[in-house]
Symmetry: C2
Subunit: 251 residues, 2 copies
DNA sequence: TGGATATGAGTAAATTTTACAATAAGACAC
DNA sequence: GTGTCTTATTGTAAAATTTACTCATATCCA
């Protein structure tokens, strides 16, 4: 029987890659490290995160982080991967963590989450007041500890999910143009998309409904606004089961 | 700043859903609970698992579990989901865990893994000596704690991955007939597959190579053996990027 | 030798994808 | 108002893929 090498003094944290989409592309929410010690600068950027509390699930903890950093409840939130490398937190960082949180722990294992937020002026104002920043996904240079890995992993998973489930709509306002949806896919997947064919595919899916409303004050033919038809999606989920083996082996 | 409600006395465990495939279909490896206490029967079935050690990553811990339960190294192993509900372990179960492992902990958070094993007579013999059993996936009735959830989640993820990545081959011997591969897809996805079309698709993918060897002693036209061409897969990965939006929204 | 059974090749129709062309509708400059 | 610019939206023909079958083949077994 294994003796006391078993680790019973781990703290578990959650770190959230919060994504938003605006006219400039895909953004991620970053905050600054607070309560610096020694060489660790207060300007270092990180993903929003928290330690889990004694009577909390990870999902709860992640939701709490989201509430604090964006002011929003009921955000789309999914677990990604656990980062458990014993050396992911340097002794110095561990000291900072223990001091900051007023705890004693030998190790911090973190669970990655990603969240999708509909960017609105209110959210942007809220996050700004909080000292958080929406950073263009291509512009993220350095994050503390292994947060760059956590973000990269979240992005990989986001891409994969984007093609399998209708999560794109979580990043758009309730009413959106098909061009906007196309740009979103294009930004997230990093590919060019033919708008005629995209439109056909999306409309054929029956998952979006025309509103009859149109853009105004645009220097071109105004596009119609559409909404995501959640009930149609649920219905389709039940009925269809499409086999798609090798199509996607090359991912 | 949050006070000491932060949980620094969690133990972290891994639980592995180990899948195998034989002529009767998809199997999962189950073991019996050892060192029972009170009402907790030694006959209760569970997934193989372990507590993580102080200097171990989760992946290491899962690999260790696999080594112990199957004797194999270098098994295909993937993280699934973390189960962190504070009440996932009843007080009684917690007592059992603490006593069994000789530790003190307030809570056990577990990380699910799934593993894919090529079933061979040696493996079967090894696991049998270990008191483990390969149970038909449809025949699993009850497992301890939330192991049923962990298994179900692993199975969901297995199905999804099966259609996106060539993990099927991890469950087959090096040389296999296309019929065997078809039966595997059929078993895992729970669908009927047309063999003519399946063959065409698989061969067109270029991911399997004919060996020139054939079955013997079968009461029908002998089928050829094929092998998985890993290099072709890697090559295809680099070159191709197939966009497949809505095909798979209905999953 | 004939029957049973699964392999493996093939095929035609239906469907989907792809790569474009063409038209439409507003804003804006003049 | 007229012409231009820009994107929306519709359409279409060729190419590729999927689907539902048919048929000849190779082995074992009675």
């Amino acid at each position: 029987m294994t003796k006391s090498l078993i680790d019973t003094n781990s703290a578990i944290s959650v770190d959230c890659a919060v994504f938003g989409f605006d006219s400039n592309g895909l953004k991620v929410l970053l905050i600054k490290r607070r309560y610096p010690v020694d060489d660790l600068s207060a300007d270092d950027l990180k993903l929003p995160g928290a330690m889990i509390l004694e009577n909390e699930t990870l999902q709860d903890a992640a939701a709490r982080v989201l509430k604090e950093s964006t002011g929003l409840k009921n955000i789309f939130l999914r677990q990604t991967t656990i980062f458990s490398d014993p050396s992911r937190v340097s002794p110095q960082e561990l000291e900072w963590i223990c001091r900051y949180h007023n705890i004693t722990t030998r190790r911090v294992v973190t669970v990655g989450y990603y969240a999708l937020v509909k960017l609105t002026p209110e959210i942007i104002a809220y996050t700004r007041r909080n000292g958080a920043r929406w950073v263009d996904i291509d512009m993220v240079r350095r994050l503390i500890m292994d947060h760059m890995d956590i973000l990269g992993n979240a992005l990989d998973i986001l891409q994969k999910e984007f093609t399998h489930t209708p999560i794109a709509f979580e990043l758009l306002p309730r009413k959106f143009t098909l061009r906007r949806l196309q740009d979103l896919f294009s930004a997230v997947l990093g590919i060019h998309i033919d708008s005629g064919n995209f439109r056909k595919k999306i409309l054929a899916s029956g998952l979006v409904a025309a509103t009859g409303e149109f853009e105004t004050n645009v220097a071109h033919k105004p596009a119609q606004f559409y909404t995501f038809d959640k009930s149609a999606y649920k219905k389709a989920m039940k009925e269809k089961f499409k086999l798609y083996f090798l199509d996607n082996w090359y991912y």
